[in-house]
Symmetry: C2
Subunit: 165 residues, 2 copies
């Protein structure tokens, strides 16, 4: 089973495709969609849109997983994140891929057994589970973590099972 994990933001969105096969999880592809500051807003969203469409065509994931359950004080920040997130969700949905949402706590719980784990503990678990030679870049690591979380929730950690959004 192939899962696309996405950690969206306007300037730096992590993406990852992971695959479970014969009881092992391996990384098929992962990286970061970067939008340098100064690039017009609409160009950033186009980059996220076109990059994810291409990735889905190339890797054919069966489901996608994204972060949810955010809490913001600032409505403007929420709107900008919403824009990037909406693009990612629409691209997956338009390709017929169901999308599952996990809170940051669920992702940490799934990977480390501890919902309040530090970011670097999660990144090290990602590295260990996938047998990566190096720590992944931060946003790519978050995308790998959420994809692994989805695979693990599918294989029987009931409290993590989420409905498609």
């Amino acid at each position: 089973m192939r899962i696309l994990g996405i950690d969206t933001s306007l300037r730096s969105s992590g993406y990852a495709v992971v695959e479970a096969k014969s009881g092992r999880i391996k990384a098929v592809e992962y990286g970061v969609i970067r939008n340098p500051s100064g690039r017009p807003h609409s160009f950033c969203l186009r980059e996220i849109h076109d990059h994810l469409r291409h990735l889905i065509t190339q890797t054919a994931p069966e489901a996608a997983a994204i972060e949810g359950g955010f809490f913001f004080k600032n409505a403007k920040t929420a709107m900008i994140l919403g824009e990037a997130r909406g693009v990612a969700i629409a691209v997956c949905a338009s390709a017929g891929i169901p999308i599952y949402e996990y809170s940051p706590r669920s992702v940490k719980q799934s990977l480390t057994g501890f919902g309040a784990a530090q970011k670097d503990q999660v990144a090290r678990m990602v590295m260990t589970i996938l047998g990566l030679p190096d720590l992944p870049q931060e946003d790519a690591g978050d995308a790998l973590a959420i994809a692994i979380c989805h695979l693990q929730s599918r294989s029987g950690i009931p409290e993590l099972q989420e409905k498609p959004i």
Copy 2:
């Protein structure tokens, strides 16, 4: 010149394509992308995505105009609107269409000469300018108004001229 006007929201997004030709403005197409309550979130965003892509292919607008300059108290509402808005922006940008943003005040000013005009005054001006037989549905009317605002700002109301986003 053909302009696509979009008034986005998750459940009801207005769209309109208007054309300026020989000193007159006419409506090419307009309507509302409806997402009934209960439809999953991702399906709503897919509907906006796929509908706008199809509309752009069919009508080939040269530029798009959307509302901007929102102020929200509630970050959750801002994020949901951001999602719908991000999809609209990405679809236009991915099709190579520049996107311009106007505040609600600029749209009202452009159509009625009065930035604090009532919604129904704006709708009646839309009806008059385009020679429509009936008042357009609310969200479609807002999309028509923003497209007309862009055409009028291009033809020389300097204080309304906005940069592409």
